[in-house]
Symmetry: C2
Subunit: 286 residues, 2 copies
């Protein structure tokens, strides 16, 4: 596995592959790799000639009071995992290489960036869209892989790719879960034992909402109320950013349930903010 730290060298390397007709599959990450990331990596390897993973804890997607400083970092462990998986290139730029002095260019994906997580993390999706656009320009991938756990991120990236005619397939991969259903996330490392157990409530809440809908309860406010009650029944839940039913494209709360819907939750367990979601096809499943 080749480790590259300089954007220009990464770009020239990627260009070389592209000119030789080799397809690149790209997995952008912030490191602290877990099985969710590794499922993306395996898919990128399967579907492309060359697999490239980036590890970059992107400062511009964190708010000033967020966890940029304490975000888990394990460069050596991560590199070892990727090496064992047979990844071709690990790209690990430093902050000054990605955002040199005088950097002023940002990609804004309007509307959807301000909803759900965006309402609680102003500027977050601007930071995500900008770094992903830059990484795409460096990597020239044919396909890029994202986890469904960050559902809104996949919507924002897909919209950016479509609006700006980026010639890249955005592939969304299923959320990988712990045995009790907790979605894998680098931020799970923040949880103490009690909070780790309590956090199973998130997926339980999503499943129960899904069951309610499948059983025929399609009144949105009723389902939403049940979700909030389930979450607030867990004492470790210190706050709910949102929990409800959304249109998977617009991220708006629909007026009625029909076809594909997104059930999504963002809660705080102690000081840790966790998100999860499931998409259900009401027509098919009922």
């Amino acid at each position: 596995m080749q480790i590259i730290r300089i954007p220009r060298i990464m770009q020239d390397t990627a260009k070389g592959y592209s000119l030789r007709g080799k397809s690149t599959g790209f997995v952008p990450t912030m490191g602290a790799l877990h099985e969710g990331h590794m499922s993306l990596v395996r898919r990128a390897k399967q579907e492309n000639d060359i697999s490239v993973v980036s590890i970059f804890v992107n400062p511009i997607q964190f708010g000033p009071s967020e966890d940029f400083q304490k975000y888990p970092r394990d460069m050596e462990g991560d590199a070892e995992k990727l090496r064992r998986e047979g990844v071709d290139i690990l790209f690990m730029p430093d902050i000054a290489a990605m955002y040199p002095e005088g950097f002023v260019t940002y990609v804004e994906v309007g509307e959807i960036s301000g909803k759900l997580c965006g309402a609680f993390r102003p500027g977050h999706f601007r930071g995500v869209a900008t770094v992903v656009a830059k990484l795409f320009n460096i990597m020239k991938p044919v396909r890029a892989y994202f986890g469904q756990k960050d559902f809104q991120q996949t919507v924002v990236i897909s919209k950016m790719v479509k609006d700006l005619a980026m010639d890249i397939d955005v592939v969304t991969c299923p959320t990988i879960r712990e045995r009790d259903g907790l979605a894998m996330s680098s931020r799970n490392a923040y949880l103490n034992e009690g909070h780790r157990e309590a956090s199973a409530v998130i997926y339980r809440c999503l499943r129960e909402a899904s069951d309610l809908i499948k059983s025929g309860i399609i009144e949105i406010q009723a389902v939403k109320k049940a979700m909030h009650e389930e979450l607030l029944g867990e004492p470790a839940v210190s706050g709910i950013d949102y929990a409800g039913i959304y249109d998977p494209e617009t991220l708006n709360e629909p007026s009625e349930i029909k076809e594909a819907i997104l059930l999504a939750v963002a809660v705080r367990i102690g000081d840790t903010r966790l998100i999860d979601n499931i998409v259900i096809n009401v027509k098919k499943e009922r």
Copy 2:
């Protein structure tokens, strides 16, 4: 000359060239082509295997009270000029193809976009950066050509390309002028005979400022005052948006004159807004 109107077809065509190792030189325009545009086209042809010109009057770079509707359009005349020049591809998308319903993604180049013309045309450079980013993604050019007449545009595009690691050479070509010095511009078509004659004052003002500096007058406010006086001496000048000395990178007014400086002017002659600039290297020229 191939005429393409669908972004996806243009992208596939460009990708085909790129995969065969052919370099594309790209000239984005809003049409109403004059000798300034044609100088870019000739250079794109000289320096690349394939030359692509786009004609797209980009609505999102016009303010609500600006001249989008009346902007000169001459698709047939333009196509004929490009055909005679031996251009390989003319890309002429319609608005719905570039900005389909639900388009929400914009590229913002901070700081410099708000200065000079940006201060008088809010949103203009956001519109420029966004359309150029999208055209670059469609065209995958090795080199893209812009006229120095729109100096701030070249600064904004170059900054975007650098910040987002777009793998494209931005080539700035000299301003082409009429015999009396007026910079060629599609908007010159708005001028009646009297205003057309009067508009020679713009380049005269720039040359005189340059002469003042070369003669040793390096007090910025003195040069600026002389520029304003020259412009206001022409009765057809109905307003000055700006006229002065700027740093060619930051577009700020420098505290003192040293090395390369930008002399730039934006005025209204009747209802027509015209811009022009020259860059002088003080060290070399004095």
